[in-house]
């Protein structure tokens, strides 16, 4: 193998690594932040990459709510003062586009990012 081929190979590998690295960075940062809004205002953002479980106590329009991130990438409502408990029944959110909603508390939790695999979820 000629020296020039080796240099070309190294440059090529470096280029591939650079593009791959950039792609990974862009895609990894998506879908990992839960944004919690009450009545339209952001009251908390939760980094779902955190390995430690986190418990949030927040005030909805109706009363207190408890939201738990499990430290494994999922987040769910565990307690709410609302009468119908739809938010507590909703499956944990973990992927971009997932939503948990409490209408009486005017609470909307969304997983941010455009990295979802589908255009919309029928639920």
């Amino acid at each position: 193998m000629k020296k020039s081929d080796r240099i070309t190979g190294v440059v090529l590998l470096a280029a591939i690594a650079l593009v791959l690295g950039a792609w990974l960075v862009v895609h990894r940062t998506r879908g990992t932040v839960a944004v919690i809004r009450v009545n339209g205002a952001v009251v908390a953002t939760v980094d779902l990459k955190q390995r430690e479980p986190q418990t949030l106590h927040l005030q909805g329009m109706l009363g207190p709510m408890v939201i738990v991130a499990d430290g494994k990438g999922s987040i769910r409502v565990t307690e709410s003062t609302c009468p119908d408990q739809i938010c507590v029944h909703t499956a944990p959110a973990h992927s971009p586009g997932d939503q948990i909603i409490c209408v009486p508390n005017r609470m909307v939790l969304t997983i941010d990012g455009a990295g979802g695999k589908v255009d919309a979820v029928a639920h």
């Binding site: 408990q85 029944h89 499956a91 992927s95 939503q99």
Partner: protein
Amino acid sequence: MKRIRTIAAILVIIGAGAAAFAALRSAPNPVSSTYFLMDTVLTITTTGSNATSINEHLYSLALGVDDMTSYYKAGSETSKVNAAAGKGAVPVSPAYAELLKTAVAVEAIDHGKTFDIAISPVSSLWGFTTKNFRVPSASEISTALLYSGSDELAVTASTAQLRDARARIDLGGIAKGYSLDVMEAYLRTVKPQPRQVVVDFGGNLLLYSGGTKTDWKIGIQDPRGPGIIGYVVSGDAFVATSGDYERYFESNGKRYCHIIDPSSGYPAQLNQSVTLITKLQPMRGAFGDALGKSFFCSTADRQRTLFDAVQSQGVTGAVIVDATGKRTTLGPIALVPEAAP
């Protein structure tokens, strides 16, 4: 010399990649707006010019439908019809009469056994209108069933009438889908056309691109777990889902969902979720929303018969998860399983 050429070529490739990446990022950003309406959430996401004002206008249209159909608002046409129960016919708007007729048309497919807007006195017994949930006695249910049902309802092009003074109608099972019809009709008139609009109204979807997008991926929520069970691919469509997994209450360890089977007066138990896909044609949003409840209250055999009966009426596909978790699709669609994340 050769080496320089190769390195130059590589640099060009990197540059092209970066340019493509930048172009991708500068594509018009979707504008997403969230509203609370009809005891649920309306999320509108528009990509294209004037996205914010389109979202606001779509919301105002949904608000108008709520003002017309609400069971709770005193000035709604539903409230007027209910208040006049047993007293005679009341005048209604042509739009309201058309909506009632669509509801009656869905009821007629199965003779009111699986969908009925006049089942509301029975739903009220279970507390789904007041959220004071309870399990009523069998005799309460059989008594309420005597004056619940579309036999009590008479509709003309300009009037509606409930014969029994205790009868009530509730359009909660069709109003969200109808709102999507009204929104779709407006979107067709917008100039310039938005690139695409996704409306999620409490799980009922409108997927609109003016016919340019043929590969919408519609995720189907897993009724018993986080995430989706897979997706189906469709062109522009209305998508209506009826499920037992968000609106329900539990009593003595038993789950009672909000969809009442009009033939028994008890919450439906045969299925976990039904998703119906209908074409963007007039009133197909309302039709699919109502028809989803029919499927939800039906056995697998009955669902196949129903599907054959409605395929010529703009229904393009159904995804069903029955009470045991078994998944079925009807029509020319395939459920693409979702790999674990």
